[in-house]
Symmetry: C2
Subunit: 499 residues, 2 copies
């Protein structure tokens, strides 16, 4: 196992630019609504957690909004942006003396100031004092813009910062969340560079796994190879999400791989594998799915389903550009898959009639794709007040927005044979007539195919950041041992330039 890649230097300037972007957006908003231009954006970073009642410490991963603005890897921080001056302030926990013995050097405040490129650094027990001193507004109590808002994927609310003395401040809980979320939706060049590296190393790891997958292995061995490649050669300690290593019938379980379905099946001759795995590099993620036959050769049926999904994947990417509605892209993918299934003899009848009965959702119950960034399901898919589509399939979409330049979005059409979905549809009087029941029955136990790339929207079109082999001939060649070199996309900051 080897790699042509190595982890790039992380540009902390990225987070300074993120902060500037937020301050500009917030000031614009305040100016439009004729509100005074003062107060502090104030966020609480994540805390380290122990497992249940024990002292087993779980590996800390920073909260994503805090990571976006400050890039801090340590737990227990707070951060503030002074809206008037633009100053950035980090508040660092005061560590006990024996930290040096157990957990490492107690770094001086100057270390954090330099590392995270902020204007000032203080201890967390100084928050009230410092913010009162720095405040340039008129009121008796300084104003804090706290983060409170809905995550439309989880339906959970972000937790606004809490600290001792917070009652000595005015609090605004509504302004910050939508503005900061929208900043995250549109990626800067430096952000794109990190997502690109996460894609490069993950693409290479996928190729490595593809080449080493063998009948008789366990699914989790594929996961282990992926994790090792991305950590060993990419320095990626975290994954964007738990690896989905589904083979055979398991590939019809969309989020397979969790603790109750832990990638523990043995690979069998004739299986399709569906591997949905992506590494995270300095908080920025990737999200990539490959589907291939574990024995290295596609059968006719496997080719039929695979190419249906590949055609959908390619057609969407060809159509993507600013202004295109994501719901239309989902429908385009559905239509291409239905057409292929009809051509392959699995479906019968008029495609438009199938579409109006939402037949596409019987084969692809999930949405076509989602925003990607510091979270795998990056926030901002539904703007405040936007409603989810109600139709079957479409209602699973994590965004219904029009594409904008700078968005990174996954394109992940799939075609699955899920008994819990297909059996009712085949029995339903409205949809039964579309199925060739005999042909479909051949695909019982087939599982499913998903092809997923990470795509960013440019001013005139889009760029696929994922570099895996996609054509059947390329996959078969790679699995037979052919080379598939992955060239690292040059990263702007490495030459000291910004795109």
């Amino acid at each position: 196992m080897a790699s042509s890649l190595s982890p790039p230097e992380v540009p902390m300037e990225l987070h300074r630019l993120n902060r500037d972007k937020l301050l500009n957006s917030l000031r614009d908003h305040l100016s439009i609504s004729s509100r005074p231009n003062h107060g502090f954006v104030f966020l609480q970073g994540g805390e380290e957690r122990t497992r249940y009642c024990t002292d087993h410490t779980e590996l800390f991963r920073q909260e994503s909004y805090f990571a976006y603005l400050f890039g801090v890897r340590e737990p227990g921080f707070y951060g503030a942006l002074d809206v008037a001056s633009g100053n950035s302030i980090l508040f660092v926990p005061r560590l006990p003396a024996d930290y040096a013995v157990w957990l490492g050097e107690i770094k001086p405040l100057s270390y954090f100031k330099e590392r995270y490129m902020v204007s000032m650094v203080y201890y967390t027990d100084e928050i009230t004092k410092v913010l009162h001193e720095q405040y340039q507004g008129q009121g008796r109590k300084p104003l804090l813009y706290l983060l409170h808002g809905l995550n439309t994927d989880s339906n959970n609310y972000s937790k606004p910062a809490e600290f001792e003395g917070i009652e000595k401040f005015e609090m605004d809980m509504n302004t910050l969340h939508p503005i900061l979320t929208e900043c995250r939706v549109l990626k800067s060049d430096l952000e794109l560079a990190l997502i690109q590296f996460a894609n490069d190393i993950s693409s290479e790891a996928h190729v490595e796994v593809m080449r080493n997958a063998k009948v008789g292995m366990k699914e989790y061995q594929l996961e282990s190879m992926f994790l090792h490649h991305t950590y060993m050669f990419g320095g990626c300690r975290h994954c964007s999400y738990t690896c989905i290593c589904a083979t055979g019938d398991n590939s019809a379980v969309l989020h397979y791989g969790h603790a109750a379905a832990p990638n523990d099946r043995t690979l069998q001759d004739g299986d399709m594998a569906l591997l949905d795995m992506g590494a995270e590099f300095h908080f920025y993620g990737s999200d990539i799915t490959n589907s291939f036959p574990v024995n290295g050769k596609f059968t006719r049926d496997q080719s039929l389903i695979y190419n249906a999904v590949l055609d959908a994947h390619n057609a969407v990417i060809s159509s993507m550009k600013p202004g295109v509605c994501w719901v239309d892209m989902h429908k385009l993918a559905e239509k291409i898959i239905l057409e292929a299934l009809k051509k392959g003899g699995l479906l019968i009848g008029d495609i438009n009639a199938m579409i109006s009965e939402r037949l596409g959702a019987m084969f692809m119950p999930h949405g076509l794709g989602h925003l990607l960034g510091i979270d795998t399901h990056d926030p901002g898919g539904y703007l405040k007040g936007a409603e989810r589509p109600k139709e079957l399939g479409l209602r699973s979409l994590r965004t219904s927005r029009e594409l904008l330049e700078g968005m990174v979005i996954t394109v992940e059409p799939g075609c699955y044979f899920i008994d819990a979905v297909l059996v009712p549809a085949m029995e339903n009087s409205k949809t039964s007539r579309f199925f060739d029941h005999e042909q479909i029955s051949r695909f019982r136990g087939f599982g499913g195919v998903r092809i997923e790339s990470d795509v960013y929207v440019t001013s005139r079109g889009c760029v696929n950041m994922t570099k895996c082999p996609r054509e059947i001939k390329d996959i078969e060649a790679v699995m037979a041992g052919a080379a598939w070199p992955i060239k690292r996309t040059p990263i702007p900051f490495e030459n000291g330039e910004s795109r």
Copy 2:
């Protein structure tokens, strides 16, 4: 990379035996205290968690007491033991229909009954009804023995079960925790077999890492190799704790490797490496440390410190048997290390005088070892009412108990050069005279050495379950490419026998 090992079948009988053991202990206790022999032991399993406000699901790992009694890998369960009848009852969450599409087959109750070898299985919304029906006591309200007690490593309390309708029960919060904890302290043969496998695969992975470590690598690449080996060949998805891959000066940071000190140093010629890494197999853990020079050859100074620690490690293991007090073992290790440092010219003066000034704690600030099992720091180190030693070093001990047959305990002496500890000790008028300041100064930046094995106490002595090369000549040979085959210890249940 290859392995002679493969994951054994997991015997669910192990958890049935754990339940029987608890019931016997609890009944004995009730009988001695003339309390009625009825009611239910009632535990809540762990819940899956998402990261902050997002839908990013963290990989679930069962709560350890629940894992001990039921071996359940899925989240959201409850479990009961009927004290009178001995019946075991699992309560399973009722999953929504679309679980089948997203997360996998919705398994029937019979699946869980068979898999987990329990008497009955119901849904979690039936807890109140079922327990009232099953109750064989006299009171109007059935009695629940809930888990509430102090974890003496974390100082946190276990969280007693909560469910809708709990007010229809009497609750006993005091009886269960000490009895169940003591059951966990003394391992059964089947438990030992799993800890042995975790040791076998982790020992092999340590050898693999040792052999592949090279100057110029990053510390996290050693972690990646370890994780890969234990998952790929041992099926170990979890580690017992975050890997500590410390080289150079970092090896003097006892719990290095966490998010704020993330194994990111580059290995340099002349460094010692201290690798503290252990895999977990079906909840049962291992905890192993190796120390070696990254260039494969010990210098004279490195040999001096290494052999001091190895002698302490070996002397302790030679002395361990039931009835031996763990505090005495700690003192034995300290004494051997001090003697070696004196012989090596770093210390001057009378060993007993050093001991009474607690000089050992200046070189080994942590405890000699801790109970090991489903938690890395397994509970039960201090029985209720037992006080921690107050002396420097000794107060870091996670247990001060006498050894009992069936305990598994780590033996992990260490010798570190920690500025934050040594500088004050060398300036202190009481301890300054013991140091040869010039000699000691040679070890600034040396880091530290730890050697850690997992040992179980037998009726007449003890057995070292860890199989890594320990002698300098063996380590140098392995690093130069010599074979170090690890034979799997036969596991009793594989022949259908129990030891």
